[in-house]
Structure formats: C-alpha cells, structure tokens
C-alpha cells in the first residue's frame, strides 16, 4: 500500500476492495459450506447488497474528484516487476457502481426465480463468482490482470450459460460462447503482449493516461516508436485488431456476435445480468480503457463495424419469434451503437449509452423472465408441449401481468429512445454526434449516421412488435388450446421490487434534469472533457426526425399486429429469410470454419498416423529389411561362398572321380597322355 495516501483514500480503496471481494467471499462460502442450502441465495444477495452500497460510496468519493491508484508487488519475472493493484478513476468507479447496482436487483429477482431449481446453490455460486470477476475487471490497474478477469467473466458466463448442463443445447451454447470469446481473448492477449513489448509495462495508468506512454509514442516512417523500442507499424495495427477482436467477442460485434443469441439458453436472470447489462458491456469498457491507442483510421473502422452490427442485429430482431432472442439481438444492436459511438469519437456518450442500456435491457430481460416463467407455469399446469419463449403463443398479457407490462413498456420505450427515458438521452447523443462527425469527415461517411437512424426505426418496429404481440391482443394459447387453466400473476415482492427499481432507473431524472437534451447529463461531464459540437443544427433536427419517424413506425406495427389490416410482405421473401436465419452467419461458420478446423485436425491426425508414424514404421521396416538383407547375405553370400567353394571342390572331385573308375588301363592311358602332352609341349616350346 502506498503510504503517501491520505486516510480518506485508503478507506476508499478498502471499500473498493471490499466491494470486489465480498461476492468472492460469498462464492467461497457457498461453495464450501452451503452445499444445497437455500441460504446460499441470501448470502450472495447480502454480499452484493453490501458491495453495491460500498460501490456507491466509492463512486461518490471518486467521481470527478480524483484518481486513486494503489498497487502491490505481485511477482518479478526477469527484469520486469508485475504489480497487482486497483485503479479508481471515473470510468472504473462508474462501472463498479453500475455492475453492483444492477447485480443487486438481479440477485433479489433470482432468489425467487430460481427457488425451485435443483441447482439453486450452484446458481448463486456462479453468480457471485461472476460478480466478483466483473467487479475486479473494472477496477484492475494492469492489462494482465484485466485480461485475467476478462477471461474469468467469460468463464463464469460459460458456467451460467451451461447452468442446465443436462440440456444439449445449453452445453452447445456455452461451448460456443467460450470458444468465440477465446478468439477474442487471443486477440486481446496478443495486443497486450504487443503493448508489453512496446512499452515494457502492463500498467494501465502509465500507458493510457494523458501524456502517458501511448500518447508519447509516435508512428514514423512505418515504424512505431516509443522510447528506444522500434517496431514495424503493422504491429500497432495488429494490436488494435487484437483489442477489437476482444471487444467484438465480448460485446458480440460482427463477426463474433453469434454466441450471444445462443447464450440465451441460460437462466433468464443470468441473461439479464451478464448477457445484457454487464459482461457484454465489458468490451465497450475495454475500448474506453484503451481508447488512446486507436488512431483516426482505426476508429473509423470501429465505427463502421459497430454501425453495421447495429443494423444487422436490428434486421434480425425483426423476425425472431423467441422472446429472449429478440432481446439478445437488440442487445447486439445496442452494443453496436456503443462501439460506433466509440469509433466516431463520442467516447463519453458511448459509455453513457452503456449505462442507460444496462438498466433498460436488464429491465426488459427481467420482465421477459417473468413472462416466460408464467408461460412455463401454464405449460406445466396443462401439460402442454409448447416453447414458453415463443411470442407466437403469447398475447393479451397486460391484464394478467400489469406491473410487468408497465416495466416492459418503460424498458421498450427507453430502448427505442423516446423522450423522457434514459435511452433517449444517450441514443440521441450518439446519433447527433454521428451526424456531426460525418459532416466533418465528408459526405461518404453520411451513410453511417443514416444507417444508424434506420436502425433506430427498426428498433422501434421490433420493440413495438414484441410488446404488441406479448401484451396486446388475445392469448394465442387460448385459441390454440381452448380450455386451459391460466393462473398467473406478477409474482411476489422479489419479482416486483427489482422491476420497480430498474424502471425508475430507466427514466431521465437519474441522468439528466433536462429530459430533452443529452448534453446536460452529469455523466458526460464526468467522463471526458466533452465539449460537443456546439449549437449544431443536428442537435434539433435529429431527435425530432428520429422520434417522429419512430412513432410512425410504431403505429405501423400497431396496424400490422393488432389491427391486422395490412399484411406485410409474405413470410417467404428473400429479405425475410435472411433476417429469420440471422443472415446465415452461424450456418456459414458451422459449414465453413468449424468444418475446416475439424477437417484440418483430422488431416493433421492423418498426417501423424500415416506420415510421421508411417515414417517411423518405415524406418522400422527398413531396419527389418536391412536385417533381412544382412541375414540373407549371411545365409547366401557368406555361407554361400563357403558352400560354393565346397560345391566347386565337390564338382571337381566329382569330375575327377569319374577318372577313378578302377580301370588300370585307363589310369595308364591318362598318365601316358599327360606325359605325351608334356613332351609335345616341351618340344613346341623347345623349338
């Protein structure tokens, strides 16, 4: 601990640490001592309650006041000393507060929502663990630890998606989620390593503060220069790409967004907390942390991808029938907004949208959870074989679930971004700045804000569709299965309290006293030296046009789904199919990427078996073959020579034997013949 810190700050730091560690303590207690006990839910809830109170205290003490950075030696590797520490600045305390405050209602809600589940205790272990990781992620002061908790939140998300691990789809989904997140992790890790190589430190404060290492490094002549380290500039791009991959995976940006809709296999409360409000926002948070790293071109790329993601997800959400899937795609769409906002330089507004989105999306999910829960009750009471999440089965629920209806309405309006909601403030802020940015950049860039606006109208349409289909009209189940009993309601206080709390948070007063102008939000002033492009014409035009058209679109949706007077394009059109099949991206991944990787792995295994092992076996065979040759040589050449000489001798003997016929005269004849031959030769030579 840094001794120079005043007592007040030490206390603040202790509070922050306590806020982070309390959920972990809850996790440990649940894991070790409260095997199957129902107490575990309350342990976790109390922990997160205390944690959120402490977070709020820390928030008030740090916000716009000071930056606190404490660190402690972790380990030494080579010449590098690694510290573990926490960095409390506006961004981190905002996230700290946000996460714990949102986690609290979700915990309360969960105690009711999960009460009949066999894995109740396990659920709270995971949830507490997630809270710990997420809280730690936002306060960590160095990239390695950031990465560590970055992955741990992915891990806890993995656990929670696969919470019902006996469901095949759930475990498929969590595997997919983790692996896609891993792709992002690899990117992030690579980026961290590149930064470490470049700046020899992992310390976020040193790297990214004003006038820090990043700011003082330059790019010159294709080299990335900082201090004495020179690296080809391409590695700066790769670092940015790596970080983008991390962001894309965690925040479900194109092309790594496909895990998020599948992740809805987890309990709805988990979807609300992790896959809507907090973890998926971690990508945007990371962008905020490393914002100085990006240069102009990279930011533009970021904006394009964010915008495209937003648009694509919105089009997909138009046609989905699964309640949670619609919300998931809307989450992707909103995250696309945030990333785009980062890309166009609207740093503060992006984070502002992150905060507002967290509340209203959490609200929407919790409401959806209640709806699904009740439909499930109907299903179980009547032994029906239906999908409780299919909005085609619902309808007319506003009378049965009034509070839920109101909450959904508030959340939905905030999502559309109609005035008086928090969503209006942040979303209009992004759109306005997008137009201003495009005006500065040139006309071709105008496509971006226009697309974003279109997305906004699409959002209005699908939200309207969702609400109308679920809460208006008549219960479709009743028409399909007449005579079923329906005993449903909003549920107890543990359901109601979170909804009320979050609904309040979705309204404008929390963020800005002026319900119509985003520029006056206290949040924006805290996050950057935000000046805004003052007195721009867009400040007035954009909100008006967007909102008016949104209302038109909603009315259109009302006509389609309630009046049913206009029958929209047939449900087999090309656009419909693209949208319904989620742009075929998942199918593409399955058919191309996964198959390719599996084929590659089969190929390497084949290579291993056939080529390498084949080579080894070949060597063995060659060895045996050589041994065979040697033995053959031994038998036929070495022995052969022996046998041959023996055979020659025998042949000669046999030949000579023929002379030994026992005939005396024959011997004599031979002898004389020899003599005469000698004589003749002698004469011939003599002459």
């Amino acid at each position: 601990m840094n001794k120079a810190l005043p007592y007040q700050d030490i206390q603040t730091v202790c509070f922050a640490i306590a806020a982070v560690v309390l959920p972990f303590a809850a996790f440990v207690i649940n894991f070790l001592f409260l095997g199957k006990s129902k107490l575990s839910g309350w342990v976790s809830t109390v922990a997160i309650l205390v944690s959120s109170i402490l977070s709020v205290i820390v928030f008030t003490r740090v916000w716009n006041v000071q930056q606190i950075h404490v660190k402690h030696l972790w380990f030494i590797i080579g010449d590098n000393t690694l510290y573990t520490g926490i960095l409390l600045n506006n961004l981190s305390v905002l996230m700290l507060g946000l996460v714990s405050v949102i986690a609290l209602p979700v915990h309360i809600y969960s105690t009711a929502y999960m009460k009949d589940d066999a894995g109740y205790s396990r659920y709270f272990q995971y949830l507490s663990f997630f809270c710990f990781s997420m809280l730690a992620l936002v306060v960590m002061d160095n990239l390695i630890l950031l990465y560590a908790f970055w992955e741990l939140v992915g891990f806890s998300s993995y656990l929670l998606i696969g919470f019902w691990f006996d469901r095949a789809t759930a475990v498929q989904a969590n595997k997919k989620a983790f692996i896609i997140n891993r792709i992002g992790d690899i990117g992030l890790l690579t980026a961290i390593i590149i930064l470490f190589n470049q700046y020899h430190t992992f310390d976020i404060a040193q790297l990214f503060k004003d006038g820090g290492l990043i700011a003082s490094s330059t790019i010159n002549n294709g080299l990335w220069i900082s201090g004495t380290t020179l690296t080809p500039v391409v590695w700066q791009y790769i670092a940015c790409i790596g970080i983008f991959l991390g962001v894309a995976a965690k925040s479900a940006q194109f092309p790594l967004h496909t895990w998020l809709p599948d992740a809805m296999e987890g309990p709805t409360s988990v979807s609300a907390l992790i896959h809507a409000a907090t973890m998926v926002a971690a990508g945007v948070f990371l962008l905020g942390r490393v914002y100085p790293l990006f240069n102009e071109a990279e930011l533009t790329t970021l904006a394009v991808i964010g915008c495209f993601t937003a648009f694509m997800a919105a089009t997909i959400a138009l046609t989905q029938n699964d309640l949670k899937r619609i919300l998931a795609y809307s989450t992707i769409s909103q995250l696309g907004y945030m990333v785009m906002a980062m890309g166009i330089g609207a740093y503060a507004t992006s984070l502002f949208h992150l905060v507002t989105h967290a509340f209203f999306k959490c609200l929407l999910f919790l409401s959806a959870g209640i709806v699904i829960h009740q439909i499930k009750h109907i299903k179980e009471d009547n032994h029906l074989n239906i999908d409780p999440q299919d909005i085609a089965n619902m309808g007319g629920l506003r009378k049965k679930l009034p509070l839920t209806f109101i909450a959904t309405l508030i959340g939905g309006l905030a999502l559309i971004g109609l005035p008086l909601t928090s969503g209006y403030l942040s979303k209009e802020g992004i759109l306005v700045q997008a137009f201003e940015w495009a005006e500065h950049k040139g006309s071709a860039y105008m496509l971006l804000p226009v697309l974003a606006s279109i997305t906004s109208w699409l959002t209005a349409f699908y939200v309207a569709r969702l609400i109308l289909k679920v809460f208006y009209g008549d219960m479709h189940l009743l028409t399909l299965h007449p005579g079923i009993k329906i005993h449903i309601g909003d549920g107890g206080w543990r359901y109601k309290l979170p909804l009320v709390l979050l609904s309040l948070c979705c309204l404008f007063p929390l963020f800005s006293l002026n319900p119509l102008s985003h520029t006056q939000s206290w949040l924006l002033y805290g996050l950057s030296s935000y000046k805004g492009y003052t007195e721009s014409i867009f400040e007035i035009i954009v909100p008006v046009v967007v909102n008016v058209l949104s209302l038109v679109v909603m009315y259109y949706a009302y006509i389609i789904y309630i009046k049913q007077s206009i029958w929209v394009s047939s449900q087999t059109g090309l656009l419909y199919r693209i949208s319904f099949n989620e742009w075929y991206i998942d199918r593409f991944y399955n058919c191309v990427v996964v198959k390719f990787v599996l084929a590659l792995s089969d190929m390497t295994f084949w290579f291993d078996r056939k080529v390498i092992d084949g080579f080894v076996n070949l060597l063995e065979k060659i060895g045996v073959f050589i041994a065979g040759i040697a033995s053959w040589c031994d038998r036929y050449i070495v022995d052969g020579i022996l046998h041959l000489s023996a055979a020659i001798v025998q042949a000669i003997g046999g030949f000579a034997r023929r002379f030994q016929n026992g005939k005396v005269q024959y011997y004599l004849f031979s002898m004389l013949l020899a003599v005469i031959v000698v004589f003749i030769l002698k004469i011939l030579i003599w002459n």
Partner: protein, 101 residues
C-alpha cells in the same frame, strides 16, 4: 654300318607297340606281353649303347639285370593274374575295379 639311330628307331616302334598292347588289350596276359615288349625295347637300347663301353660293359650288364628282373616280375605277375582269376573269374582288368571309389 648299323647306326645307333637305327636301333633306337626299332626300339621306339617296339616300345609303342608294347604300349598299345598294354592300353588296348582286355586280357591280362596280353598286357603282360605288352610289358615284356616294352622291356625288350628298353633292353635293346641298353645293348645298343653298351657297344661304347667296352671296359665296364655297363649297357650289357644292365640289360642282363633287366632280363632277369623281367623274368622275376613276370613270374609274380602271372601268379597274381592266376589269383585274380580265381577270385573274379575273369582276367579282364576293366572288370576288376574294386579300387573304384
């Protein structure tokens, strides 16, 4: 004048005749005769050259010895032939091939 060469030619012819008899005849007694012919060819030479040793008479002396030895060998040979005949009932040397391996 009878030259030495004349004697030697006679002796050579005689020798070859004896040799032919030895090789070709299938009768042990005839072979024995062939041997005697060859011996006589040799003796003829001894005698012919013996003319030039008047003091020691070596040629004639050895001719005498040879004659005597021939007689002895003939006696033994005949005895053997008789025995062989008793054993094998033949005097054809080709048919007596116990030595053959």
């Amino acid at each position: 004048m009878i030259t030495l060469t004349d004697f030697m030619i006679v002796s050579a012819v005689l020798f070859c005749t004896g040799m032919f008899v030895i090789i070709s005849k299938k009768n042990s007694i005839q072979i024995l005769i062939g041997i005697e012919l060859m011996l006589n060819a040799a003796i003829l030479n001894l005698v012919a050259f013996g003319k030039y040793d008047r003091i020691n008479n070596s040629g004639q002396m050895f001719a005498l010895f040879a004659i005597v030895l021939a007689a002895a060998t003939t006696a033994v040979a005949l005895a053997i032939i008789l025995n062989v005949y008793k054993q094998y009932k033949t005097i054809d040397p080709d048919k007596i091939k116990q030595l053959k391996d």
